[in-house]
Symmetry: C2
Subunit: 270 residues, 2 copies
């Protein structure tokens, strides 16, 4: 089935998920929407994140997508059930795949989670982890400065090391051996976070796991694109609610392929 | 005239302007709107900031405001002319009063400006300053991390000192003697910024100047509220697009009076 997969995020962070989907599902067509006008979602309420996510899904449906991936942890945490109730195509978030992977990884049954304020407050990772194994202990911490630090380009900086140290200090008091990077920006701080936590803590990147789950889901539902890549190159279309140039520049940094254009969408009208 | 003054901001920062208006115009009724769902504006494009500002002004007009104050530097920089074209009540931003004060202050005719990415990119402070005195040299610098640092409560912190030092380093190479704090959050970092710049640089806070200009404007247009405070306490009404509790808690920290309630508005419908 050659209909595209719709992927959305509050901004540009979801492109890390897109990159993984391109790698693991190279034959699929993609439509990406980044809500760059209303970014960030991480400090917003459930009601607002649900409303914004619904508008985006309605837009993606005009592109005849065969499945929707919420590539934003906050949207996955707050809005996934609501979206699923509204549409009859498969919807996948990044939270469940990340939780499954962390549960498979841990030996101590102590798992750490870092994310935005709204993701952590939602308790959604805890819910999934406890559904998998009620004996798992979850330690979570909101890290509101990580996104601005990444966006300012301070991926390797003494200030970022200082802030990482403060946020993660508490987590180190528990015997965790897996830490979920519960926000699409955080894998960009992987080295500093890894250094702070030590080599006994495995960092779980939900982007990777989500692409894997998506492949399984499409296979099960017989939705994979069977047109060979040799016959037709996959199409990748990008849409944003603001700032096309800034988006393209970031996308070019993150993705392995060059992004030629992105289109502005008046998302509030959906 | 007892109609209220409408004040708006991208979020909570504009409350520093509200505080000054309450102090300098204690007899006026106020209606505040904070766009907490779509905050921040500082990284957004002109077209988006204009659209959001227009929606907010349309909302404020339903409250029969007699004047509008854009208490957000980014909205003042990008959307003021557009708003003025659309409504027939006085509209005041924070940029012009700040520029006037800086021009009055400087002796060296070298003025520094710090603000959000969009405010700095707009070049609006330069335009006003050069209109006042073409001989003024303007040095500007965007400081994207200041708002997240303030919102994380790191007003007095070694990390903030480090970041302030990096952003302001360039400005110190010029012989500036006035620095405009061109974002409503920045006065909260006044001590660290002052320490970095040295005592010969006067820090200009547009919030203070805006309240003064508003008083002059209302006096000239014969719009002051002549009902005495003894007869009737002024009314202050607060509206936001998201997160009432968080707003009230911040407002209580900033304002001298207790905020009892705030109402959520579906601002996209205006």
């Amino acid at each position: 089935m050659d209909a595209p997969i719709g992927v959305f995020d509050s901004g540009v962070g979801g492109l890390t998920v897109v990159k993984e989907i391109m790698r693991q599902l190279p034959g699929e067509n993609l439509v990406y929407f980044g809500d760059t006008a209303r970014v960030p979602y991480g400090s917003k309420s459930k009601i607002t994140v649900c409303k914004y996510s619904r508008q985006i899904v309605r837009f993606l449906q005009t592109k005849n997508v065969k499945a929707v991936v919420a590539a934003c942890n906050t949207a996955s945490a707050l809005a996934l059930d609501e979206i699923r109730d509204e549409i009859d195509i498969p919807v996948l978030g990044v939270v469940e795949p990340g939780a499954v992977m962390a549960a498979e990884t841990t030996r101590t049954k102590n798992i750490g989670i870092i994310g935005t304020e709204s993701t952590i407050k939602s308790g959604i990772y805890n819910k999934f982890l406890h559904r998998i194994d009620p004996d798992i202990t979850v330690v979570s911490k909101a890290c509101p400065l990580f996104v601005p630090l990444v966006e300012e380009g301070l991926w390797e900086d003494r200030v970022t090391e200082d802030i990482v140290g403060r946020y993660l200090h508490e987590l180190k008091e528990y015997d965790i051996d897996a830490l979920i990077l519960g926000c699409t920006h955080y894998p960009l701080l992987r080295r500093i976070i890894g250094q702070e936590m030590g080599e006994n803590v495995k960092l779980v990147n939900p982007a990777y796991e989500t692409a894997k789950s998506l492949k399984t889901l499409l296979t099960e539902k017989d939705l994979l694109n069977t047109t060979g890549i040799d016959e037709k190159e996959p199409s990748y279309d990008y849409f944003v609610s603001d700032g096309v140039e800034k988006f393209i520049s970031f996308a070019d940094d993150v993705l392995s392929c060059h992004v030629e254009k992105a289109e502005i969408i008046d998302i509030e009208s959906f």
